[in-house]
Symmetry: C2
Subunit: 355 residues, 2 copies
């Protein structure tokens, strides 16, 4: 059972081996949204995404004689890199079953970390079955991308860090009158007296492991915080599932820039947790995601992959009003090769520039 | 006189008003260079560059009756934004004399921060004279970009933070045998026993204010550290001046991507300090700078403007061998609009990809 204690144990295992990523604030983004946004920059995590945490925790918790037989996983990329890096840390073999269409940077990075790649055709192959066959043959342990409580507990350490880091943030934020109104005026607005004033959190969701871990930690530490997951339009299976109270699959064949968080259905183990802990979900389109990516580039100076930027996309797209409130946004990953980034930007060039 | 005490005072003034930017490490970059690199990410500073520190310290130290008359400065962009943001903090007027060729993002950001822009033609105008005339007319205090000890002291707080943050870094770093050699081996290499093992620092230099402040702080706290400044080829006036022991000007009419650090000569006040404190200087060409910018994008997930990336460019270009040593690199600024970034990347497309 995933619970708070399991996340605390994960934190102890990770200590000294991962990066305690910073919580970053940008006044121009606050002004753009009329509230306060704090970004948990998991793009700065080892391997460029939060996935390292869950993979490390899972592998660290294996019995040594099991661990020595290696690990195998299936992933579109970020989890693959997390597993490869964690396996390398322990000096064990890692095999990764990856779609042949996965972004080049993710494939290269996984190989550079010493993992063996097994590519499959996303239309005809069954990645889980391929991984299971490898596990049976070699004795390697399967590191599931999200439906595993040790993986969820690892991701949940982000929630512990957010709660700790929020305590160190000043509880007030400066607001300024419009620059064109002549005389400048400084207005100190008291955003809150207590940590509960950090009103909401937005994070990307694919299979739901990040959200299950983070929400379990935050429901314990900050029970009044509203917790929202964000998905790409057409792949908003979690949003629909939360509304229906049961797991439903995506319909049809949409396309999305957000390769990292495209999943057919919510996870079997993650969904019951998220159904209990989450406030709701939003779906964002590619144009909003691209706009968020551009704001993060130009204002935040951060490289965030489309799937990692959906939280900000939801706010820029007014899915909920931030006015006077405070939000934490998890930037979950930044693995995007430069040529893909440039192609994306050019495809959206006709869009209006961010304000 | 700029001394350690003045930098300590600046730190007290800045406390709670600036961002203590993180020191970031990336294993793939360490492996690429065969040593250890820690990036001081001043791109995450308020206004996207270190310049906020010096401007804030200078304005904070003014007598209230002087400060109320406002400030005026001349800058190609980053210092302008720093001054505008600091002036806004104190609710005073700021005027910025800026070349009409300055990057769009820097102009827009300065205006958004409430400053009044006075554009001039870089070929015919004298920015300092224009600022002095405004100062005489309005009583506004000139905030020089670098030749001012309070500005240097503000930038010097980066040095204090680096020394503090280095103490919290583990003193050993893992190395791995080549991934293709079959059996994986984990070799723990003791990089150092003491803080002096952080062997060197590389930072961009334009007028020299950043380096004068940082080197004054670090000479005091870490006397054995080698301190190098890095400039664009053709604008390597500091390198030549350090070699000659006196201030010399750039020759001819070179061009460079590094708009933020193009200066005709080292500063009058900064140079004597840097002559005493610096170990040496390097010059890098546009291709190396672009390569560094790409590595920072793809591996570090950071948006760094060309002038801010020269420290890494020097290492990638083997200006000095890092092998087995540890370097701190200051990433001084990240103010680069997306369209300029894309143009830059495309102009260098024929270059080989980073390893």
């Amino acid at each position: 059972m995933l619970d708070f204690e399991l996340i605390r144990q994960a934190q102890a295992r990770l200590k000294g081996h991962h990066i305690v990523t910073p919580l970053l604030e940008y006044e121009p983004i606050n002004e753009m949204l009329g509230g306060r946004v704090l970004f948990k920059a998991e793009i700065l995590q080892k391997t460029g995404s939060f996935k390292f945490r869950g993979a490390f925790n899972k592998i660290a918790a294996l019995a040594p004689d099991i661990r020595t037989r290696g690990v195998v996983t299936y992933s579109s990329g970020n989890h693959a890199q997390g597993v490869a890096a964690a396996a390398r840390h322990f000096g064990i073999a890692a095999t990764v079953v990856m779609p042949s269409t996965a972004p080049l940077l993710k494939r290269q990075n996984t190989e550079r970390l010493g993992a063996k790649l097994v590519l499959y055709d996303i239309k005809t192959g069954d990645r889980k079955a391929i991984a299971e066959a490898i596990s049976v043959e070699t004795g390697a342990t399967i590191i599931a991308p999200y439906d595993d409580e040790m993986v969820m507990a690892g991701q949940g350490t982000i929630g512990l860090e957010i709660a700790e880091q929020l305590e160190q943030f000043p509880k007030s934020v400066k607001r300024f009158s419009d620059k064109n109104c002549g005389e400048k005026q400084t207005v100190e607005t008291q955003i809150s007296d207590s940590i509960e004033s950090h009103d909401l959190l937005l994070a990307p969701i694919g299979g739901g492991g990040l959200m299950a871990g983070v929400s379990t930690a935050l429901r314990h530490l900050m029970p009044d915080m509203q917790l929202y997951c964000v998905e790409p339009e057409g792949f908003d299976d979690t949003k629909h599932s939360l509304e229906r109270g049961e797991r439903v699959a995506n319909q049809g064949h949409a396309s999305s820039l957000c390769d990292a968080i495209i999943t057919p259905t919510p996870g079997e183990l993650t969904f019951p947790i998220n159904l209990r802990t989450l406030t709701g979900g939003f779906a964002v389109d590619d144009a909003s995601v691209m706009r968020a990516t551009r704001v993060l580039f130009e204002v935040a100076k951060l490289v965030v992959e489309p799937g990692g930027a959906v939280g900000l996309a939801a706010l820029l797209d007014n899915k909920l009003a931030l006015q006077g409130r405070s939000a934490v946004i998890i930037l979950s990953g930044g693995n995007l090769d430069l040529s893909s980034f440039i192609s994306m930007c050019q495809a959206q060039q006709s869009d209006p520039a961010p304000p």
